[in-house]
């Protein structure tokens, strides 16, 4: 599975005309444009976009597993929904400390904990990527069925109402997030921070070891790396991120239903990431936001054919463009800049 994009990304950067078109700069431009959006485009778009940004976070949690650890999870939406339910339960319980904060924290801990347990359980036995897909697929079915059957806790098919969180700063006051614009400006910097944080992580030692495992696990083992632990760490982080994003999603949408954790949504994330670029955090993030936005827009016009088009795009990507859109763009930039760059 040696991939051109992965090897070039690690290569030395060369000073060139297009050097400014690197990924973090592109990310920064996108984030700034998104930050300015509410000024020009109030209304529904500002309400709905944060939800898609959170989908983008979930997509990045899959990029971490797929692009770096080489393991595809078909169960990211299960963690996403788990986060939303956690948030809902904590918000309902209330408490002396702002339940919104507790909910977000607990969601990340629960998601990371469960993913860590499942991950260690599987990786310590050397589970193959194909089996990992099956197990995570089963996780999302289990999540959906538990959500449906434990209706006294989760509300069953009817779903669960979740209050919007408010930001409190102790003696310094509070900010309500009930309006759409404050919520938007709350979610956007979180997304940006997580993107840059993950990027730093995967470009550091952690990402290099994961890439090494992906390319040649036996060699890493013989070099003394305890690869199951590294893979477990990656999955725990991925689960924590998906769960955290789901908690924010739940409080933003004020609602969670079992289908949020189901197989169909879980595998939709796989489609986004494949199309955006399985090895590119920004590709996954933007594909999540972009495809979800397009789905919303096109579902109104052509609900049936849009899903079909997505399916065809997915197959074409797997067949001919393994790096997805990010891979294709990366190669174009490379050609014009004349040499590998970071």
């Amino acid at each position: 599975m040696s991939d051109q994009a992965a090897t070039t990304r690690m290569g030395p950067s060369s000073p060139h005309a297009l050097v400014w078109l690197s990924e973090p700069v592109l990310a920064l431009v996108v984030f700034v444009l998104l930050a300015l959006l509410p000024i020009f485009l109030p209304g529904y778009v500002i309400y709905i976009l944060p939800q898609y940004m959170l989908f983008g976070l979930m997509a990045m949690s899959l990029v971490l597993m797929w692009g770096f650890a080489g393991m595809v999870s078909f169960g990211q939406a299960a963690f996403f929904a788990l986060g939303a339910y956690t948030m809902g339960l904590v918000m309902k319980a209330g408490g002396p400390i702002n339940p919104g904060y507790i909910g977000l924290l607990l969601a990340a801990l629960v998601g990371g904990g469960i993913a860590g347990l499942v991950g260690y359980f599987l990786f310590s036995a050397g589970v193959r990527p194909t089996y990992f897909v099956l197990v995570t697929l089963a996780l999302s079915i289990m999540m959906e069925q538990i959500a449906v059957s434990q209706s006294q806790i989760t509300g069953g098919w009817n779903g669960m109402y979740i209050d919007r969180l408010s930001l409190t700063f102790g003696r310094f006051g509070a900010v309500s997030l009930y309006d759409d614009a404050p919520m938007y400006w709350f979610v956007l910097p979180i997304m940006a921070a997580i993107y840059f944080g993950l990027r730093a992580l995967v470009r550091g030692r952690f990402g290099k070891v994961l890439a090494g495992i992906r390319e040649n696990e036996d060699r890493l083992i013989s070099l003394g790396f305890r690869t199951p632990l590294w893979k477990t760490a990656a999955f725990a982080l991925s689960g924590a991120l998906a769960c955290f994003a789901g908690a924010l999603y739940g409080t933003h949408a004020s609602f969670v239903a079992p289908s949020l954790g189901g197989v169909l949504f879980s595998t939709e994330v796989v489609v986004w990431v494949a199309i955006g670029g399985r090895q590119s955090l920004l590709g996954g993030l933007l594909a999540g936001i972009g495809v979800a936005s397009l789905s919303n827009f096109l579902s109104a016009i052509t609900p049936q054919y849009w899903q079909l088009v997505l399916g065809v795009l997915f197959v074409v990507t797997v067949l001919f463009f393994r790096g997805g859109i990010a891979g294709v763009l990366g190669r174009l930039v490379e050609r014009h800049a004349g040499g590998p760059r970071a």
Binding site: Y131, Q145, T267, Q307, G311, V315
Partner: protein, 284 residues
């Protein structure tokens, strides 16, 4: 006592029906190592083709055969145009067959709509065994499932074709050096697996209402049935795996809800996969 007997009979029927639904998957997975994520869509297609044939007035049995043939041809095309280029990259075949699932499901939704459809039961009535009454049709499908597995066993272990296929599993390179046409054998196996999936879908239709996602329920259960039973052990493994998945689910469903029973069984299956990754039948 009579409860135990009726549960046992029920579990046997469920096992055999699940084994039939898993069989196409087991064939493709066990013989050529492709994880066919499109298996669920093939089951669904078999069901819809049967429904469509019967709408034109064809009786059930030929309709089911036509449907299975249609799905088999589709599998042949899928193998010929896509899958055969990816045999050395098993993970990509997983993704590609999942793409097949996505596309097929959407096409089914466009062509047939999302309304529930149903097919009239060709064998009405029940078979009274004293403690439990077995619907005749379900009994017939279970018997047919057993027959199919036995027949496949005969082909695999008693015919020249079977020897070729087994040689292929054992040592692909050597088999091809000895003049075996690998490409053709793989193609036939894949198409046969698709045919069996279509046939299973067709035979399941009178027992449930059809919607574009019915195959989904069976996809993961079939996978677990096959992997828990053991991949190399196509016939016995599929039966045992189906019994562990389907039978356990029946027993658990006695004490809790159907949904919870399925969750518990999946968790157990994950446990089994962790500790016996080659299946319960495999020798250590």
């Amino acid at each position: 006592m009579s409860t135990a007997l009726s549960v046992l009979l029920d579990a046997t029927l469920i096992t055999l029906v699940l084994a039939l639904a898993s069989f196409g998957l087991a064939i493709i997975f066990g013989l050529i190592g492709v994880i066919n994520m499109g298996h669920g869509a093939m089951l669904t297609l078999g069901a819809y083709f049967t429904w469509a044939c019967m709408e034109t007035g064809i009786p059930f049995v030929p309709a089911a055969l036509l449907a299975a043939l249609g799905v088999g041809l589709l599998g042949l095309a899928l193998e010929h145009f896509v899958i055969r280029y990816f045999y050395d990259r098993p993970f990509d075949t997983l993704l590609l067959t999942w793409g097949f699932f996505l596309i097929t499901t959407e096409i089914i939704k466009i062509v047939f709509g999302t309304d529930f459809r149903s097919v009239a039961n060709p064998l009405r009535g029940g078979w009274d065994l004293g403690v439990i009454e077995i619907p005749i049709y379900r009994g017939a499908v279970a018997a047919f499932s057993l027959l199919v597995i036995l027949a496949t066993g005969l082909v695999l272990f008693r015919t020249g074709l079977g020897i070729k296929i087994r040689a292929l599993i054992q040592n692909r390179e050597m088999a091809s050096l000895l003049g075996l046409n690998i490409g053709l054998t793989y193609k036939l196996v894949f198409a046969f697996g698709a045919f069996m999936a279509g046939l299973a879908g067709a035979l399941l239709t009178p027992m449930m209402s059809i919607d574009p996602y019915i195959g989904n329920i069976y996809l993961v259960r079939a996978f677990f049935a096959v992997t828990v039973g053991g991949i190399g052990q196509i016939l016995g493994g599929t039966l045992i795996g189906s019994f562990l998945i389907g039978g356990t689910e029946t027993v658990f469903a006695l004490f809790s809800s159907q949904a919870l029973a399925q969750t518990i069984v999946f968790a157990l299956a994950i446990l089994v996969l962790r500790f016996r990754p080659a299946g319960v039948l495999a020798q250590r």
